[in-house]
C-alpha cells in the first residue's frame, strides 16, 4: 500500500485537453460567488454549509454518547439529553444528509456528466442555496431558543402539547424542504432536456440515474413533509387537536403523513450514495459495470417502490394488522433492488484491473456495512420481529448502518473521488487510506454493540438504563469518538491539500466517465469546447488517448 497507486497521470499530454480560460474557481470576487449562476460554485457553497451542519449534528451525537457512558446522570440532565437526541436527528437528517450528496456533488458533477453547460434553472439553483441557508438559520434559531424534545419525528399528541418552542423548528424544516423541491425540479428538468448530443438515456453515467431517481422523491415526497410539519406547528400554536384523541383526532394519522415522506426520505439519503458507488467501482476496477441496466433501473425501482412502504414504521403504533401486513410485504420488495445493485457492484470488480485507492477502500467499508444494514432492514420489516425490536437500539443500529455506514461512507468516498476534479489538487493518499480504515473501525465499534443492546431490550432515546447494559454503551461511545475524530481527520486532509496537495491532471483515476474529459478544475462553462459524445461512459476497452481523440477531434 506504499505505492501511490494513482494511474500515472502523464499518459495524456495536457494539450489533448484543449487549454482554456481560467477555472471556475477564479475571478468575480466575493459577489462573484454570492451571486453566481455557476452550478459548480453553488455546489462548493453547499459543501461549506453542509459540512458545518455535519460537524454540528455530529457534536450533538458525541455529547449524548458521553452522557450514556454511565447508567445514570453523567454530564447532563434528562431534559437536555432529550433535546440533544432530537437536535441530532433534525440536523443530521434535514440539514446534512438530505442535501449532502445531491446538492454538493449532484450540483457539481451532474451537468458535466450530461455534457451540459449548466443546470436547467441556474437562478433556481442559487435560490435553493439561500433558501437552505434561511431554513437552517430558522431551525438553528429555534434550537438556540431551547428547541424541542419531541424527537426528530415530532409524534403527536406530545408535539402538540410540549411547552417548547416548536414552531420555529418545524417552520425552518418546511423552508429547507422548499430548497429540496427546487433542487429536485432542477435535476429532473436538466436530465430530460439538457443532455448533449450523443448522451442518450442509456449512455448517461449511472450517478445521473441515481440523482434523477432521488429527484423524483425530492419533488413528490417533500411537500408531504412540508404539510405534516406545518400541521404540527399549527396544532401546537392554535391547539387544533388535529391528531389529539381528546379532540377526536388520531395520532396515528400524523404518523402516516410523516412517514409518507420520511420513508422515501431515507432513499433520498441512500440513492445518491449508491450513485457515487456506481461511479467509483467501474473507475477503480477499470471495467464497465456488470450490468448498466440493472443499476439504472433498480434506482428507479427503489425510488418508486420506496413510496409504498411507509407503514413499516408504525407496526406497533395501533395501525390495523391488515395494513401492517400490506406494508410489510411491500417493504420486502424494495430490498430486492438494493440487492441487485450490491451483486452488480461486486460482479463489476471481478476480473477487474483494480487500483486500491481511498475511494475504493471506502467502497469496501460501504459494501459490508450496507449489507448488514440492509439485511437488518428486512428483518425489522417483518412485523412479528419488529414487535420485539421497535423503538430499541436494534432499529437505531439498523438505520445508522445505512445512513452512516452507507451514506456517510459514500459521501466521504465522493469527497475523495471528485476532489481532484473540483479543486485541481490531489490529497495525501496515505492519510486518506488511514482515515477510511479508522472510519470503518470507529463505525463498527459504535454501532455493532447497538444491535446487541437493542436485541437485549435497551430502548432508544432513554436517558438512563440498567447497569448490565453499560459495557455495550461504553464500547459505542468509544467508537463514536474514534469515528468523529477519523472523519475530522479525513476532512482535514482534504482541506490541507487545497493548499499543499500536488496538482491534479484532468483524469488522475483513468476513468472513462464524462466529467474527466474536462480540465481539473473545469472552466466556468464546463467544457473548453463541447466534446463529441459517441461512446458510453464506461468504455474501458478504449485507451485514454483514444477517448480524448474522439472527444476532441482535431
Amino acid at each position: 500500500m506504499s505505492a501511490p497507486a494513482y494511474r500515472e497521470q502523464s499518459s495524456i499530454p495536457l494539450e489533448a485537453v484543449p487549454p482554456t480560460e481560467p477555472s471556475y474557481l477564479d475571478g468575480g470576487g466575493l459577489m462573484g460567488w454570492l451571486n453566481t449562476r455557476d452550478h459548480k460554485r453553488i455546489g462548493i457553497m453547499f459543501y461549506g454549509a453542509v459540512l458545518a451542519m455535519f460537524v454540528l449534528g455530529g457534536s450533538f451525537a458525541l455529547l449524548l454518547r458521553l452522557e450514556l457512558l454511565t447508567p445514570d446522570r453523567t454530564i447532563m440532565d434528562a431534559n437536555t439529553y432529550n433535546r440533544l437526541f432530537t437536535w441530532h436527528g433534525i440536523v443530521m437528517v434535514w440539514l446534512f444528509l438530505i442535501p449532502s450528496i445531491p446538492n454538493i456533488f449532484g450540483n457539481f458533477v451532474l451537468p458535466i456528466q450530461i455534457g451540459a453547460r449548466d443546470l436547467a434553472f441556474p437562478r433556481l439553483n442559487l435560490a435553493s442555496f439561500y433558501v437552505y441557508l434561511a431554513g437552517s438559520a430558522i431551525v438553528l434559531g429555534g434550537l438556540v431558543l431551547g428547541g424541542t424534545d419531541t424527537g426528530w419525528t415530532f409524534y403527536t399528541p406530545y408535539s402538540e402539547t410540549t411547552p417548547d418552542r416548536l414552531f420555529p423548528v418545524v417552520f425552518g424544516i418546511f423552508v429547507v424542504g422548499v430548497s429540496s423541491i427546487f433542487t429536485g425540479i432542477n435535476f429532473i428538468a436538466s436530465v430530460h432536456m439538457l443532455r448533449a448530443k450523443g448522451v442518450h438515456w442509456r449512455r448517461m453515467p449511472l450517478f445521473v440515474w441515481s440523482i434523477y431517481a432521488t429527484s423524483i422523491i425530492l419533488v413528490l415526497a417533500t411537500p408531504v413533509l412540508g404539510l405534516s410539519v406545518l400541521l404540527v406547528g399549527l396544532d401546537h400554536v392554535f391547539h387544533l387537536g388535529l391528531f389529539n384523541p381528546a379532540s377526536g383526532g388520531d395520532p396515528v394519522l400524523f404518523q402516516h403523513l410523516f412517514w409518507f415522506y420520511s420513508h422515501p426520505a431515507v432513499y433520498i439519503m441512500i440513492l445518491p450514495a449508491m450513485g457515487v458507488i456506481s461511479e467509483i467501482v467501474p473507475t477503480f476496477a477499470h471495467r464497465r459495470p456488470a450490468s448498466y441496466n440493472a443499476i439504472a433501473f433498480s434506482a428507479l425501482g427503489i425510488a418508486l417502490v420506496g413510496f409504498l412502504t411507509w407503514g413499516h414504521h408504525m407496526f406497533v403504533a395501533g395501525m390495523s394488522t391488515i395494513d401492517s401486513g400490506i406494508f410489510g410485504i411491500l417493504s420486502m420488495f424494495v430490498a430486492i433492488f438494493s440487492a441487485i445493485k450490491t451483486f452488480t457492484w461486486v460482479a463489476t470488480l471481478y476480473r477487474g484491473d483494480i487500483s486500491f485507492n481511498t475511494p475504493l477502500l471506502y467502497f469496501f467499508g460501504f459494501l459490508f456495512l450496507f449489507m448488514f444494514g440492509g439485511m437488518t432492514g428486512v428483518a425489522v420489516a417483518t412485523q412479528s420481529l419488529d414487535v420485539h425490536w421497535h423503538d430499541t437500539y436494534f432499529v437505531v443500529a439498523h438505520f445508522h448502518f445505512i445512513m452512516v455506514g452507507g451514506s456517510v461512507t459514500a459521501f466521504l468516498a465522493a469527497a475523495h473521488y471528485w476532489y481532484p476534479k473540483m479543486f485541481g489538487r490531489l490529497y495525501s493518499e496515505r492519510v486518506g487510506l488511514l482515515c477510511a480504515t479508522a472510519v470503518f473501525i470507529g463505525f463498527v465499534l459504535t454501532f455493532l454493540p447497538q444491535f446487541l443492546l437493542g436485541n437485549a431490550g435497551m430502548p432508544r432515546r432513554y436517558y438512563s438504563y440498567p447497569p448490565e447494559y453499560q459495557w455495550l454503551h461504553v464500547l459505542a461511545t468509544g467508537g463514536a469518538w474514534l469515528l468523529g475524530f477519523s472523519v475530522l481527520l479525513a476532512v482535514g486532509n482534504l482541506i490541507v491539500s487545497l493548499r499543499y496537495g500536488r496538482r491534479a491532471t484532468a483524469n488522475p483515476w483513468d476513468s472513462r466517465s464524462y466529467e474527466w474529459l474536462t480540465p481539473s478544475p473545469p472552466p466556468p462553462h464546463n467544457f473548453p469546447e463541447t466534446p463529441v459524445f459517441d461512446r458510453g461512459p464506461y468504455d474501458y476497452e478504449l485507451s485514454q488517448e483514444e477517448v480524448y481523440a474522439r472527444a476532441y477531434p482535431r
Binding site: P111, A116, R117, D118, L119, A120, F121, P122, L124, I181, G184, I185, N186, I188, A189, H192, M193, L194, V219, L220, A221, T222, P223, V224, G226, L227, S228, L231, L234, F238, H239, L240, G241, L242, S247, G248, G249, D250, L253, H256, L257, F260, H525
Partner: protein
Amino acid sequence: MPAPILGEQYASLDRQAVTLRFGMWLFLASELLLFSGLFVLYAAYRSMYRHDFVEAVHSNTMAYGTANTYVLLTSSFTVALAVFNIRRGALRAAMWLVLASAALGVTFLAIKAVEYGVHIREGALPGPYYHFADAATLGGNRFYTLYWVTTGAHALHVTGGIGVLLWTAWHVPRGRYTAGYHPRFENATLYWHFVDVMWLFIWPIYYLV
C-alpha cells in the same frame, strides 16, 4: 422591446420554453402532493366518523361553495383564452383576459370571506373553538377543522395565484412576452388552472357528498 435571453445551456429558445414549462409541471406535481395530505386526512377521518361527516357536509354552506365553483371554472376559461390569444400575437387581449381571471379570483376570495363569516357566526370554527349546533359531534369538529385548514390553504394559493396573474399582466405591455416566446406567461396560467383543479376536488367532498 427586449429580446428574450437564451441561456447558454440551451440549444434553442424552443428548448428553453419547453424546459420552463416542464419545470412548472414538476412544481405543480409537488403542489398536488402538498394538498394530497389534506385529502388523506379527510378520507381517514371520514372513514372513522362516517355518519358525523355526512351530517356535517349537509350542514355546510353549499350555495357559496357552488358559486365559487362557477367562478373558478370561468376564470380557468378566461385564462385559457388568454394563452390562446398570446399565441396568435393578440397581446392586449391576452392581458385583459388575465386581468379578468384575477378579478374572478378576487371574487372567489370575497365569496369565501363572506362564507367564513357565516361559519364564524354559526360557531363552525376549528378545533377547540368549535360550537356549531347543527353538527355538534366529534366528527363534525374534525370535519370543520379540516375544512378550515384545507380551504384556508387553498385560499392562500388563490391569493398567490392572483398575485402571479397581476404580475404577469403588468409585464405584457412592457414587452416581456412575444407571440413566439412566452413560457412564463403560460406558466402563470398553469398555476392558476392548478388552483382551479384543486377546488374541483375540495368542492364535492366538503359541500356535496
